[in-house]
């Protein structure tokens, strides 16, 4: 029993890697139920009127992309499936090339750049810039990602501030992200916000969902698998879902085993005394 307390960490890592690798290569096909939050986010986008202007703010870094990437792709695909006008933007340096990566991972459905969607790239300045963008976006952003003046882009002619947007979709890790949007877009301008977060930060956003300042805070990767089912485009979320489920179970098993060993060791130590 004492050995349980002292399992070599490399055995734990190896077990975990083997389980995750097997589940990634040959998914077990575990049942996947669509959660209320994912359905709510999906329905909100579905109910948007044709021509509605959406801010797609990709606030992920490279670390966050591993988890948030599939959800970011699923969100954008859903937006492109509908007759909407999409403004892509990011407030973190990594956002710049992650937006390009997301755009190459989706089916554009024949949408034209400058008419149906536009990429503003990374905007420096964090929450302060976010607030300035909401008040008058041309004071913060003058050109799109490629350097074209915003006034020369047909789609941007009717967009001047946060008041012109019907929804913010924000796949996010860290600041300013969804919290910045709640403070600078939802409260002053009443723009609804949908976000996806790593599971660790979702509890931080649940009170905002209950208070109505967020429409939904989805926990990536699970939500991305559900979302891919809803938009009928299986992707990396579904591919990773079984690996996450069984990997978590394996780690829980190791936690239980380690605790059994610790309790046993402390009891046998007390008996000896």
């Amino acid at each position: 029993m004492r050995a349980l307390e002292r399992i070599d960490r490399r055995i734990i890592y190896l077990t975990l890697i083997v389980i995750v690798a097997i589940m990634t290569l040959t998914p077990a096909g575990l049942p996947l139920l669509i959660s209320r939050e994912t359905r709510l986010a999906y329905d909100t986008i579905e109910k948007l009127p044709a021509g509605a202007q959406i801010l797609y703010s990709l606030d992920l870094d490279i670390m966050g992309w591993l988890q948030g990437g599939p959800q970011a792709i699923a969100f954008l695909q859903h937006l492109l499936n509908r007759p909407l006008k999409i403004v892509l933007i990011g407030w973190r340096p990594d956002s710049e090339f992650l937006i390009l990566k997301t755009l190459t991972s989706v089916d554009l459905k024949g949408k034209k750049y400058g008419v149906d969607y536009v990429n503003l790239g990374f905007v420096a300045g964090g929450e302060t810039a976010m607030a300035g963008f909401a008040a008058d976006l041309r004071k913060v952003v003058r050109t799109d990602y490629g350097g074209t003046n915003l006034d020369e882009i047909p789609m941007m002619k009717t967009i001047t501030s946060a008041k012109d947007f019907s929804l913010v979709v924000c796949p996010n890790t860290g600041e300013p992200g969804a919290l910045g949007f709640i403070r600078q877009w939802r409260i002053p301008y009443n723009v609804p916000i949908i976000t996806s977060q790593p599971p660790m930060t979702v509890p931080e956003f649940v009170p905002h969902v209950q208070a109505g300042t967020l429409v939904a805070a989805l926990p990536a990767i699970r939500s991305s698998a559900e979302y891919e089912l809803l938009i009928k485009k299986p992707g990396l979320g579904i591919a990773a879902q079984d690996a996450v489920s069984l990997g978590t179970l394996a780690l829980l098993a190791f936690i239980v085993i380690g605790n059994i060993g610790t309790v046993w060791a402390s009891k046998s130590g007390a008996n000896r005394k």
């Binding site: 890697i17 995750v20 990634t24 990374f122 403070r183 208070a211 109505g212 978590t248």
Partner: protein, 223 residues
């Protein structure tokens, strides 16, 4: 092909730390840090050129000289004599950031939460009353737990004890979520390695496994 090869090699090099610290891990670590720093610098210079340099050169907005001067002043930190100059732009950045956030933070993170909780208690539907009571009790008792100006005895002590359990529940939830997040990272990396970078990655993984086995055997024979 080359992208998949580089991705696979870097992932395997980083994961090799799980076996033991080695030169390949250090190489990958320093490469990633260097690339991240270089990328951030390139993006910064690009922004400077697009948002400041071009409008100034074209003569459309000379007011942009002020933020550039303030930005340059930040670098005075590297000078022993003029380091005090950096405190002015720093104060401006922190002051503006705090001001912008503070104007709505009370509304977003306090007032709206209270407004959302009142209907749970006043007009409960289903489990609303139960949830509302839990929210109010855990909020008050947790605040009491962190109240150090009163001794934790009697009523205050009992409230603080409940608050302590509330904190435990939150920390347990955070720990569970952290595990789920980390497994998500592993799974995401595995998708990159075994699906996006296949079949190149299989060869890289095979070489890494072989190298580890050789190292294990070599170390055993030395012992």
């Amino acid at each position: 092909m080359i992208g998949a090869l580089i991705t696979s090699v870097m992932v395997v090099m980083v994961w090799s730390w799980l076996y033991r610290h080695n030169i390949f891990f250090s190489f990958a670590e320093h490469t990633i840090v260097g690339i991240a720093a270089g990328y951030a610098m390139a993006v910064g210079i690009g922004n400077l050129q697009k948002l400041a340099y071009e409008p100034i050169v074209k003569g459309t907005d000379y007011s942009l000289l002020f933020p550039i001067v303030f930005g340059v002043l930040l670098f005075s930190r590297f000078s022993r004599v003029g380091s005090w100059l950096a405190s002015y732009p720093l104060a401006l950045i922190i002051g503006t950031g705090t001001g912008v956030a503070m104007r709505v933070i009370i509304d977003a993170q306090v007032v709206r939460q209270i407004i959302a909780t009142i209907p749970l208690l006043a007009k409960p539907v289903g489990l609303d009353l139960f949830n509302g009571v839990i929210i109010v009790v855990t909020l008050v008792t947790t605040v009491v737990f962190f109240l150090y100006s009163a001794e934790h005895k009697g009523l205050v002590g009992r409230a603080a004890r409940i608050g302590k359990f509330a904190v435990f529940v939150v920390l347990g939830n955070l720990y569970g979520s952290a595990i789920s997040t980390r497994i998500g990272h592993v799974a995401g990396q595995m998708v990159v390695l075994l699906i996006e970078s296949a079949p190149v990655s299989f060869g890289i993984v095979a070489i890494a496994v072989a190298a580890i086995l050789v190292d294990i055997l070599r170390r055993r024979s030395k012992q």
